[in-house]
Symmetry: C2
């Protein structure tokens, strides 16, 4: 988990000060932290990382793109995009071809093997989501997604 605001240490068996226990940002960071560990672990077992999934999903959904494009769509730092694309390339999950029109650019394309790998990772994430939301009813899950989406939309408006 990237930077970890008020969610350090995964307060599992810990007693939490009341100040934090009802702080929405703390609650979300805690949950994000726990679920992140599970996701990272599960992906690691499949020899993948979150970025691999993120980049493969972006390539499949929006089509081929250059590293700079991927930086803009995913928000991942360009240096890290390049490194990850290198890894994915060595695994034959994507291929890099020089752009015909602008030779500064490299076009990254997902391969059939990449699509197959993406479906596998999809399945892993789907399972983890149901575990995460286990204590909520269907209605509550929808409500949660609705509230979170509302907050995120507003956050994106600034900055």
């Amino acid at each position: 988990m990237p930077t970890n605001a008020l969610g350090m240490g995964t307060t599992v068996n810990a007693v939490t000060p009341a100040r934090l226990r009802n702080l929405p940002s703390w609650l979300m960071t805690q949950i994000a932290s726990v679920s992140s560990r599970r996701i990272v672990e599960a992906l690691h077992n499949a020899d993948a990382r979150e970025r691999h999934y993120f980049i493969l999903a972006t390539l499949e959904e929006f089509g081929s793109a250059s590293p700079v494009d991927l930086e803009r769509t995913t928000g991942i730092n360009l240096s890290d995009i390049v490194a990850t694309v290198g890894i994915l390339g060595r695994k034959k999950l994507i291929k890099r071809t020089p752009a015909p029109l602008d030779r500064r650019r490299t076009v990254v394309t997902i391969t059939p093997a990449g699509r197959q790998r993406l479906r596998l990772l999809d399945e892993i994430l789907r399972r983890l989501q149901s575990e995460l939301l286990a204590p909520l009813s269907t209605g509550e899950r929808d409500q949660l997604v609705r509230l979170l989406t509302k907050i995120l939309a507003c956050q994106n408006d600034r900055s």
Copy 2:
């Protein structure tokens, strides 16, 4: 940013794949990531860190404690507790006294200056919370806290 499950890169102006857009863990990690940045930045401007707040709050709410106690209550790694307590001590926000009964132990106590500092940090966090929840009504905020608490309680039950 701390470990960052599917929430890397703070997708601010980015187009997000549909796979992720409705993934609760991704939504939460995104929000946690954005709010984390704001919190870290605001605390940095006040010459503080999240751990400082966490430890000061724990000391005020549960009373004096040794580093090992603090590790257990906060979940923060002992080495980092020691380092942070050192910083807080140099700022006279806490004081360290050897425990009378067990001389292996050090008793960490919050000072009046520490309490004052804590109130300042409280105020900073309170303000950031209202910014974060701005798009939600009062009822929605309560509902959100309720749902998050439910999930977190269930997470804590495992492991």
